[in-house]
Symmetry: D3
Subunit: 252 residues, 6 copies
């Protein structure tokens, strides 16, 4: 089974993650034609749910990138459906306690490590007949640390067995800390929290990812030690591109 | 941000609510071309889920009505997805206890009032760049009071901070009280319960809505003091219209 | 093979035809739960094309009504696709000459009567294994007579072998005759044209249908001798029903 | 209301269940043209969710088979949505305790037996106007017993009032017992567990079903006393058929 | 009826046209939130057909831009369907002769100017009840001049009554003239042809548009006198934006 | 650009062609996971049109097979759309004359060989940036010879420059010759016609394909010299498999 993001990590590099908020296999395919290390279908804040996510995964079937999904919430039904559909990683929002982290990991792992139900309908056909035996070690489980409570519990969260890593949602984290909700934050309160999570994850031997907007900020986060950075969704890329185009056209 | 239903309430009037049970942007657009004060996409008993609800909201983008969603259950994933998709109100079924009411409100409000996750992908583009700062006061959260238990707890439910109001589901309420499940009820047991909920909500300074079928009953409920009435779904409107048409045609 | 519309005609009655302009299997199913003799999916002025028409036909699979399609134009691809999908009748717009009528009939009939290509993928599974042998006699082919030219050619059009009948589009006919385009016309010029077409069809032993709006007008057309009447689309039924409802609600 | 599976059981026979994993009304319709006693839309490991399940149910509207749904998890929203959409049975995965079994049954039954919310939008139109009064006795609720924990609790699970029966998922059960996850198991550990569940269900007067792959194994399970057997999904049937075809073609 | 592109022309300015190749109401809505004067849904080389175009038009219902469609070919069915769906303009490819131009105009105009069939199902609901009377003067009909033959016939083509203008497809024009097929051409042969078409259109009092890629070229074409310029599709905007992003990320 | 079917032909072998009649990317993906040399999406008698064909092509993006489309009719719009969407071959029904054959080839070839319009939106992204320069030689154009008229004209048809080959539709051919319409025919009249077409094609240096049902017949056709055989659609494969399964289950 190929898993480009794990290969990147094996090479001690940071992965660059594409982000899909538009519910369309056409835009997914376009994104997958670019050299991302992983691509995440966002079923939480993206305008995507299972019905649209499935053909998006199919349209990216030729891609070398590791395909992942961010799910709407810590709900077992959709987590397992996305894995069965072939996602090799799950980013789960709002993991605030070690109990929630353990539940999340359980939904991603087959017995005896967890309680994921067996029936990898599409996964086995695209990842190979040994899927059942390697899924537990290949599937990436990233818990979002994005609240004050999660920050307080971060050392316990990263101690969860079989968790792959954490993923920081800076907007929610900022909001929870009383700051403005935005990406690419530079408020010292938020920055300190980001450092805390990063260090906690690395001390535990886990990976750390963060949601960014601009390439400059994302590169700074890689410098800081993050193992996975996202540089905005394809929706923002499109909108920014159109704004720039019209601004050029409307300027005499 | 425009919010016609809140404007109606500011004018001490009752809102007339359209109801969408058919999963189609075409029927949604037709409904939105009529002068409802609010229109609710029904993801519970309607044949609609997120995949169909999104283009329905888009097709109603020109409408002046406040667009809301009834969700299938007290489940955070879908509540937040509908808000991110641009719904300005959520009607949540089966709120039976103050704890459930508090959970529901929490899913609809950003920190520090609640735990709604930040990422209003479509909402910010259709409601304006100040969405983040006004969402907590603009989003309408209506808890359905529709069981014997909820009736017993109604004073505690309406005491929930940041809850906008209650919405009565007469069929379930009747069933729970041992009566026939139907709309436009006139059984004294059901009517007494309806009065109890209405008075409790108003005493707490909250709004009260009720699901009706015929205009006559809906107007009576407005007379009674309700702030929001629904007069059947577009599915019933279509079916009734066809029955009448064929009955006319088949009568010599 | 059941064919309710032909049964109605055998009984020397007029068929009442439902009309589908909304691209949704849910609205199609609702219409099919009412007692129409035939139901026509409108791929011309309706908001429907093949992609939406197929699940609409499926959703009406339980219905006793004869299912037909109005196609966008005299184009062989879509005519044959709708027949293969299980439609038992085709209404074809803008048949202005006997040559066009012959082409149309050819697209609806297997050799040696015509040039319909063989491959009734869904038709054979829903209409039975003898479909191939009875299709030529069962499939209803109705040519729309709706222009001044068609009116001049009507006797030649109805002489087309294996044509089932004509169907009048009063809006286009009126427009072509210099009148206001509308249904349920009473302008003497249009009425005379309607009589001409009706009489021409009946003299040739063919059926005659007409597109109407109100039940009153449709019943008058049956009185006049028409064999098939349509009483507006489900889209108009829904819109009219909502207008009436809101008018009642808004009237003090 | 027709309910073929209950009729089969009344005749002391075993039902043969079709299984839908492909999200398509076309494949659903094809399956429904074969003589299954019941057909289950799989929203758990199948590639189906509500959006695709609804037109699948519609496309099978003509079928005599009892239509059921396997839901992704013990989540009330989707269970009730599938029942409102017309499913006459629910198979719920991972029922490990009597508490979970009671919750599950509660989601399937109207008050006073449970807490299913009233609003059978499509169910009432396809099953008849007496749906409300007969739904509690007609709807089939099958709890999946598929873990070591469930096995330990099986006698308590089958004691749940108004539960119709249990359904064994051999892959998960095997995995949980430390065996290879697969269908048509013959490992003595798994076989003993299967016997235990079957006997427990029958002692309690409940039905017992099991997920199988080959007809031979399924027939053996009927011999063993099972009341319901599934013989693989339509997805496996298609894939196996293509493998056989190409193997024949590629063999000189 | 609002028609921003005609307003722009009345003000003797050039319109900036957005171009939709992705079959998604979400991307269409994003494009429509930017200040284009017109937006064209491309059903020819775009990955769009009627099924996807309809919700795209709906999702842009709030937009001030004039919404148009490029159709796959000079085929009456789809031209009229797009107009009925609410498009206010049609760009038709490969108009090589005055006869083809006359056919095209005929498909866009009601009698007595043409043979467009009457039934503006959605158009009347979004453009107002006077649609029937103003459609002939409001609908924009642009004939693509993009072959050597069309170039030779251009003076006859622009003499077609009720044609609004021409639209140059530089790739096909270049290919037909023996040059490389690309946008933003600077080959003297192509440039001369572009001048010829522009001058011919303006001499006849018609509008002239051209398909461009970069803003710089598009602005140069406005300088040259073009009345309408397109600056690449949203698909190219997205892809270019992602290429730039990844190039920045991958550069140390 | 990879083109497995042309590679097979270069190796003087016959290609085995899969056939898609079900409008689903899931079934398309399943078929593409088997070792067909080419796979054809059937937009004529299959239940597929452009909207469903696009995600089907995307879902097969990983496949080594040459992906082709059978179009509904000799209509330029859909032929060019399927090529732009990435199909590398077109099978066109009902080519009865050399004029029709020339038109067909023209729609598949860029100038100067034909009149295909330039804009390979998806094709260029999946087949590589040199698509424009190699498309004319790579795209496979197969004319269906399936009527008495076509049989009479076959030598003229195969003389069409840049035509790749012919493809026999035995059902239509049989029907046109007065025989029963079916596949795997053995009627001497039909067999003689098949030989005639095969020999004519090979004499002209073209390829010859034929639509078959069973592997046995398909292998016999390869023996006879055919370069391409289809062995029934995935829809028939599924249906046959289910029939066999139920027959086994129902047999005591």
């Amino acid at each position: 089974m190929r898993n480009r993001l794990r290969d990147v990590w094996t090479n001690r590099s940071a992965g660059i993650n594409g982000w899909l908020a538009i519910p369309s296999p056409v835009t997914a395919e376009i994104v997958s034609q670019h050299e991302f290390d992983s691509i995440t279908v966002d079923l939480q804040h993206g305008l995507v749910d299972y019905t649209s996510a499935l053909p998006m995964l199919q349209a990216m079937g030729h891609s070398q990138a590791t395909l992942m999904a961010r799910v709407p919430w810590l709900e077992p039904g959709i987590i397992m459906k996305m894995l069965d559909a072939g996602a090799l990683g799950i980013i789960c929002p709002m993991i605030n306690t070690p109990e929630q982290a353990a539940q999340f990991v359980g939904y991603c792992r087959y017995a005896p490590l967890g309680e994921r139900s067996f029936g990898p309908t599409r996964a086995i056909s695209v990842h190979g007949s040994d899927y059942a035996s390697v899924a537990n070690e290949q599937v990436i489980a990233l818990a979002m640390v994005e609240t004050r409570t999660a920050l307080a519990n971060v050392d316990a969260i990263v101690a969860t067995p079989n968790l792959t890593g954490v993923y920081i949602g800076p907007s929610d984290l900022a909001l929870s800390l009383g700051c403005v909700p935005k990406l690419d934050h530079d408020d010292p309160i938020v920055m300190e929290a980001i450092h805390t999570v990063l260090n906690s994850a690395h001390r535990a031997g886990l990976k750390a990812g963060i949601h960014c907007l601009t390439p400059a900020y994302a590169k700074a986060m890689i410098e800081l030690g993050f193992d996975l950075v996202t540089t905005g969704s394809e929706l923002r890329a499109l909108s920014a591109s159109l704004s720039h185009l019209l601004s050029t056209m409307r300027t005499p």
